[in-house]
């Protein structure tokens, strides 16, 4: 059996090479990779400020609330926000496509 024939026989390989699946994977990676890069960059920016700019982070902004506290709390805010945005995106964009492909696989069996 030739390599091409083998690949068309295997339903997983066939699906993996289908346009719908490639589109699903592309959409998923296009969302999660940049998002991961963004929150890691923002987190390490914060860490660098905390270890290198002690005076800035200790500066009182309002009362005894410091820049360090504000930026730290913003890390909480961005974490919560990314969670909400991802869960919504996944429910709207990802799940229906993934579900359709899983059903297609189930029908082949």
């Amino acid at each position: 059996m030739s390599k091409e024939a083998l690949e068309t026989e295997d339903p997983n390989i066939a699906l993996q090479n289908s346009d719908d699946f490639i589109e699903l994977r592309r959409k998923f990676r296009k969302f999660v990779f940049p998002m991961t890069g963004a929150f890691l960059a923002w987190y390490f920016l914060y860490v660098l400020l905390a270890v290198l700019a002690h005076d800035f982070m200790g500066t009182r902004v309002i009362g005894n609330i410091t820049w360090g506290l504000i930026l730290g709390l913003l890390q909480f805010v961005t974490t919560f926000t990314i969670t909400i945005v991802y869960v919504r995106w996944a429910g709207r964009e990802f799940d229906p496509r993934a579900e359709a492909l899983a059903q297609k696989m189930g029908a082949l069996k």
Binding site: F44, V51, G58, G68, T79, T83, L101
Partner: protein
């Protein structure tokens, strides 16, 4: 600082609160949870029931259980204590622990749930050669779980020291033994289902306890955060050389920027490589529920860390750093001491029982994970060549749990007095170095193969542990004038040559690089298995479903 000049209100090594109340409330928790464990674990003999609770938990239940698993003694006692003594740097810890969940949410949880069955090794070995990869993954699972276990047991010891006023004594060791035995009962009889319920109950109690204390602290400061921070900063004692210590600015705990960056890397990349966290994703029926689990976990964990911020600064003002440091159990006693300050014996008893429950639940989660790996990955692969029946596997898992319980008890006795947040940070460093690179490569990199996995796992694991052994954590830190002891694990010797406390900055990139180079030097590639894994990971087709009753 001269200890003779310390104020007289500094507690001596005697009991805080009433030991009878403390033990009574804890005993109540144990009785209630044991009853629940016995109730829910009637049919626990199939592998899916024992390892994964039948995959029948909802995303919300599992999310609460994850929070219960993750908010360990390190989070509650360690972070509150670190904030009370070192202010802002303690808060930095908690941010890393929280942000880390985004790695799990975006990259790991759902795909792992779809591909795997019971253990982390199921995913790693899916399209690679089973035996070597499973063994490697099992070894690193055991290593991470061991560090984490030590941290929890040390926490139990510290808490006992505070509550019963005994330090390094027979009684303290006895309590560690009792904690170990109760935990084993949960794991061996309850399996994953019983363990999960213990974690859910504990998470709810912990969060309620923290909310009550937070509101109480805030009330004392007129619900004004700025006042609380200002008073806490004013109460902070000066450094040994007489310079002022600003609790609200970073830099009190981490003098060396590189050391903190190393720690931050380990924290943010470690969570998604912790085997006991990963195993929790198998307890839900679908990848969508796994996503919901992480969503719930992030909300609960985030909210909890916000509470510890108030508790830590509250303890700095209301209890005082000096009293905390001098108490048996050291910084770890900040939260219980604060409870005593606020609500006397009863609140101390409740909070201490919650802290004990925390330790029990986390230790149970670690033990079931490590025992599952020993049975499902090591016994089944090495001894039975993959032909063990589910009944045999579960039996071996239960025996493994017994052995691990004994190890945890002995290790806990040796780890008494160590800072627990710190030991947990080491577990995170090993997880991020040895596990995360292989998890990500195997989920996202087509070319990845067995040699890459082995180089990455062993390289990350060995480098992380070697650097820890030769770090100042183990030997060679200068003697602290207040306690008269070196903060290192070993006293009186110095064989350290690695300058940092946390190995992450070297060992994590090394794990990634070795995985990359190892992969490129091997031609192995299995197109069919890769297709099966990728299709399953993204669409969920072929994933393990919930068990039917």
């Amino acid at each position: 600082m001269n200890t003779a000049l310390a104020p007289t209100l500094m507690p001596t090594a005697t009991t805080v609160g009433n030991p009878a109340i403390n033990i009574g409330i804890f005993a109540l928790f144990v009785v209630v949870t044991l009853a629940i464990v016995i109730r829910v674990s009637r049919n626990n003999n199939t592998a899916a029931e024992y390892y994964a609770g039948g995959r029948a938990f909802t995303g919300r239940q599992n999310g609460i259980a994850i929070a219960g698993d993750y908010l360990s003694a390190a989070s509650f006692l360690g972070i509150a204590g670190a904030i009370a003594v070192n202010g802002y740097d303690g808060f930095l810890y908690s941010i890393g622990f929280l942000v880390a969940w985004l790695v799990a949410l975006l990259l790991v949880a759902e795909l792992l749930r779809n591909v795997g069955k019971y253990t982390m090794a199921d995913v790693l070995s899916f399209r690679l050669r089973q035996r070597p990869v499973r063994i490697a993954a099992a070894i690193s699972t055991l290593a991470v779980s061991f560090f984490y276990l030590l941290a929890q047991m040390a926490g139990a010891g510290g808490l006992v020291a505070l509550l019963l006023g005994i330090e390094g004594d027979l009684g303290q060791r006895l309590v560690i033994v009792v904690v170990g035995i109760i935990m084993l009962f949960y794991v061996i009889f309850g399996g994953m289902k019983g363990t999960t319920w213990v974690q859910i109950i504990k998470a709810v109690l912990l969060i309620i306890g923290a909310v009550v204390m937070t509101v109480w602290v805030l009330a004392k400061f007129g619900f004004n955060i700025s006042t609380l921070l200002g008073d806490a900063a004013a109460a902070a004692p000066a450094a040994a050389d007489g310079t002022a210590r600003d609790l609200l600015a970073p830099g009190l705990q981490y003098k060396n920027p590189v050391d903190f960056i190393s720690l931050a890397l380990a924290l943010v990349l470690g969570t998604a490589g912790l085997p006991h966290v990963l195993m929790r994703f198998y307890t839900v029926p679908t990848s969508r529920e796994a996503r919901r689990s992480v969503e719930w976990a992030i909300w609960l964990i985030g909210a909890f860390y916000l509470l510890t911020l108030v508790l830590g600064f509250g303890a700095a003002e209301l209890v005082g750093a000096k009293a905390i440091k001098a108490a048996p159990g050291g910084a770890n006693s900040a939260a219980p001491l604060l409870a005593f300050e606020l609500g006397g014996e009863i609140l101390l008893g409740v909070i201490s029982a919650v802290a004990f429950a925390t330790i029990l639940a986390v230790v149970a989660g670690l033990t079931i994970t490590a025992s599952a790996s020993l049975s499902h990955d090591v016994y089944n692969t090495l001894v039975k060549k993959g032909n063990a029946t589910p009944e045999e596997e579960v039996k071996v898992a239960r025996i493994s749990a017994l052995v691990l319980g004994a190890v945890a008890i002995v290790g806990g006795i040796f780890a008494l007095g160590q800072n627990i947040a710190f030991l947990v940070a080491l577990a995170f460093a090993v997880a991020a170095s040895a596990n995360l690179p292989t998890i990500l490569y195997s989920l996202f990199w087509k070319r990845f193969n067995t040699r890459g996995a082995l180089w990455s796992i062993y390289g990350g694991l060995i480098s992380a542990i070697t650097l820890i052994v030769f770090s100042p954590v183990v030997s060679g830190k200068p003697i602290d004038a207040v306690t008269g002891k070196s903060p290192s694990m070993l006293q009186g010797v110095d064989f350290h040559w690695f300058p940092l406390d946390n190995p992450g900055i070297i060992s994590i990139p090394l794990g990634f690089v070795l995985g990359y180079i190892g992969t490129l030097t091997s031609r192995e590639y299995n197109a069919a298995k890769y297709a099966e894994m990728e299709v399953r990971s993204l669409t969920g087709y072929g994933a393990e479903g919930a068990s039917q009753h």
